[in-house]
């Protein structure tokens, strides 16, 4: 468990004071890879809002996470244009390999998540592997690439 102390959090947030809760939380996540314990109090103070408001923002946005992500994250597009080219099969094949996009989704340093549209709709099914966008994907090649990226 990565522990980030308050001083470090303050340092990240200070230059952004007054520019909104979301920007502060995004900056923290950019810096540490996640939003660590203690962030809420620091952001609340910096933005002069209640912790409840910060909590509201933190839990609203899908991108914000309170734990470090796996070393390699695979994000599979599950939106319509990719469905039209078999993304449902990709999801099913990943599930067969133990990656349930709605449940237990981290195995062996690889996390598989769903995403709604990567803007690569003409070349679906699409996914990202460790941030790199990929076209015409299937579960086997995705996991192979993810495995290499996670080492």
């Amino acid at each position: 468990m990565t522990v980030v102390d308050e001083a470090q959090l303050r340092e990240v947030v200070a230059p952004l004071a007054g520019r909104g809760i979301l920007l502060a939380l995004q900056a923290i996540q950019e810096q540490f890879g996640f939003v660590p314990d203690g962030s809420m109090a620091v952001v609340a103070e910096s933005e002069n809002v209640t912790r409840a408001e910060v909590h509201g923002v933190l839990t609203y946005y899908a991108d914000l996470r309170t734990e470090l992500p796996a070393p390699c994250v695979v994000r599979v597009c599950v939106a319509e244009a990719c469905q039209a080219l078999g993304s449902r099969q990709v999801v099913a094949d990943l599930a067969e390999r133990g990656y349930d996009l709605h449940g237990r989704n981290v195995i062996d340093r690889i996390a598989c998540e769903q995403v709604f549209c990567l803007g690569n709709c003409a070349l679906g099914p699409s996914a990202t592997v460790a941030g790199r966008i990929r076209s015409r994907v299937n579960a086997a090649t995705l996991l192979q690439e993810a495995w290499e990226a996670s080492r």
């Binding site: 914000l64 319509e80 244009a81 070349l123």
Partner: protein, 538 residues
């Protein structure tokens, strides 16, 4: 030295454009070819990516798809002279798929180096901003109004009317907010433009700013577009350096500052008021309207909220003249639209044509039918909240009104093709699922209706008391349509109902014979007590 153009669009990169560029460089060096590689945006011919163009005396010649392994051969076989090879498309300007388009908003895509402001200016950039700075604000707004430009984000509201409202509003601060939260599946035109011609968007925003007296602009880009974010940040920095942004836009003494903000994975933040909330740093919760953002928008101040394509088209309009732009398309849907063909389609990509091309011409003509070679079962137009249409709609003109008359909407111009293996009941269920996942939660029809919708569709498909559940779904759709605050809940019934209309069999419903009301003999037994049914609508 021969110029070779390789796309740096993220779709091109997803199929290996970076590797192709690297291979070109390596082979050219090794074999002594004198080349300069220029990374451009994409022409939008995604099925040809990785796609490259070579500058020749006759014009640019295109090749694609290019495999890394073929690069050495292609160079040795005379690619740099534009010789025809197995994967060449010949002169780019003559290639029918492009020649049949009329590119206004996308005119520079694939042509220019998106990192170069000088290249942008060489291709007509900044002419419009200089014009706007010389005109009275009122005249700039009148020009936009006269062009007939309507919002390209989906709602199609006349841009000039919106700008006029902001211009006439009295306030100490006004804003221009560009909505680049292009979350609709099947749409990628905003992304392509930001990656391939970022200065046109900056110029468009600056024009909007000087036209209405807004000194600050925000560009809200979804986080799923990392390349677009990086390109826009780079372009904004360049624009500040060049004095295109800042306290005195092009030395005019008028200020326009641009701030780029990144979304955080929320679809509903593409709704304008939710986006404003998000820009203020809050949860992306939809606001009730009125007041409209043009009067009370960002931080309660008068705000222009326009889509990327809307703003990026403004420089072209001021350059070519409002009348010339309005002459394209049809009277109510003026100008051009960048349609995006995706899903199960042979020639997927971006097609910019005047409004009014028929759906059939788009899907069969430009699109070339399905990738799988199977029959088309449905197309979904306008994103996840758009209707599913079938072959009976092929003659529908692609205009705001044409699609509305067909029971759909043009939205942001995305057209997603499904072949006959698609299960329309699953698509209808997904529409409700997606709404449940992405609802901001503020209004009940959307927040709860979507979850109930998934359940009701499941019962219909399972054959549980089908007739009554169909009636319930209809009621639910009506409640969502009429009772939701924004398009999220309000339009989710569109794909649901249209899927049911074009493919009732996928829901287990026998097509009605000879006008008889449906005989559901197989499912006469009701598994649910009557009271339970009432609960479904909450």
């Amino acid at each position: 030295m021969t110029k070779v153009f390789v796309s740096c669009d993220s779709s091109a990169r997803s199929v290996g454009a970076d590797e192709v560029a690297a291979a070109l460089e390596l082979h050219a060096m090794r074999d002594g070819h004198d080349i300069e590689i220029v990374r451009t945006g994409s022409r939008g011919m995604m099925w040809l990516e990785p796609y490259i163009e070579v500058e020749t005396t006759r014009g640019r010649v295109g090749y694609g798809p290019v495999a890394v392994a073929d690069v050495g051969h292609m160079l040795n076989l005379g690619m740099l002279l534009g010789r025809p090879l197995a994967n060449s498309i010949g002169l780019v300007a003559d290639y029918p798929w492009l020649a049949q388009q009329q590119r206004v908003t996308f005119a520079r895509l694939g042509e220019v180096d998106p990192t170069s402001l000088a290249d942008y200016e060489r291709h007509g950039g900044l002419v419009a901003l200089r014009t706007a700075l010389a005109l009275a604000p009122d005249d700039v707004v009148s020009e936009v109004t006269a062009s007939g430009l309507r919002g390209r984000g989906g709602a199609g509201f006349p841009a000039g009317v919106k700008w006029r409202t902001v211009l006439d509003a009295q306030a100490d601060q006004k804003y221009v907010c560009c909505n680049a939260d292009e979350g609709d599946s099947g749409t990628f035109a905003d992304r392509m433009l930001m990656e391939g011609d970022p200065f046109s968007l900056i110029e468009g925003m600056a024009i909007a700013g000087v036209a209405v007296g807004a000194t600050r602009g925000y560009l809200y880009i979804r986080s799923e577009y990392p390349d677009a974010i990086a390109r826009m940040q780079q372009a904004a920095a360049t624009a500040y350096q060049a004095g295109l942004l800042g306290d005195s836009v092009l030395g005019s003494g008028r200020a326009f500052h641009l701030d780029i903000r990144v979304g955080a994975g929320s679809y509903v933040c593409g709704e304008e008021t939710a986006m404003l909330e998000s820009l203020e740093g809050k949860r992306g919760i939809v606001r009730a309207k009125p007041p409209v953002p043009a009067l009370q928008g960002l931080f309660g101040k008068p705000t222009i909220v326009n889509n990327v394509l809307t703003l990026a088209t403004v420089p072209a309009i001021l350059t070519m003249g409002a009348a010339a732009y309005a002459a394209l398309g049809d009277s109510a849907s003026a100008g051009t639209q960048v349609f995006q063909l995706s899903g199960n389609i042979r020639h997927g990509g971006a097609v910019e044509v005047p409004f009014g091309v028929t759906l059939g011409e788009m899907v069969d003509g430009f699109g070339g039918g399905t990738l799988s070679n199977r029959a088309i079962k449905a197309v979904q137009i306008g994103g996840p909240l758009g209707a599913y249409l079938d072959g009976s709609h092929w003659s529908v003109p692609l205009t705001y009104e044409g699609l509305a008359a067909a029971g759909g909407m043009i939205g942001h111009g995305g057209i997603v093709v499904f072949d006959d293996t698609a299960d329309m009941a699953a698509q209808a269920r997904f529409a409700m699922e997606f709404c449940a996942e992405e609802s901001c939660g503020k209004c009940t029809p959307c927040r709860i209706g979507s979850t109930r919708g998934v359940e009701v569709i499941d019962r219909i498909v399972a054959g549980v008391d089908r007739q009554r559940n169909l009636a319930l779904l209809d009621d639910l759709c009506e409640a969502m349509t009429d009772g939701s605050l924004c398009a999220m809940g309000g339009l989710t019934p569109l794909p649901v109902r249209s899927a049911l209309r074009i493919a009732p069999a996928d829901f287990g419903i026998e097509p009605p014979e000879s006008g008889d009301s449906e005989a559901d003999d197989a499912e006469s037994d009701s598994d649910l007590p009557e009271e339970a049914l009432d609960d479904h609508l909450v």
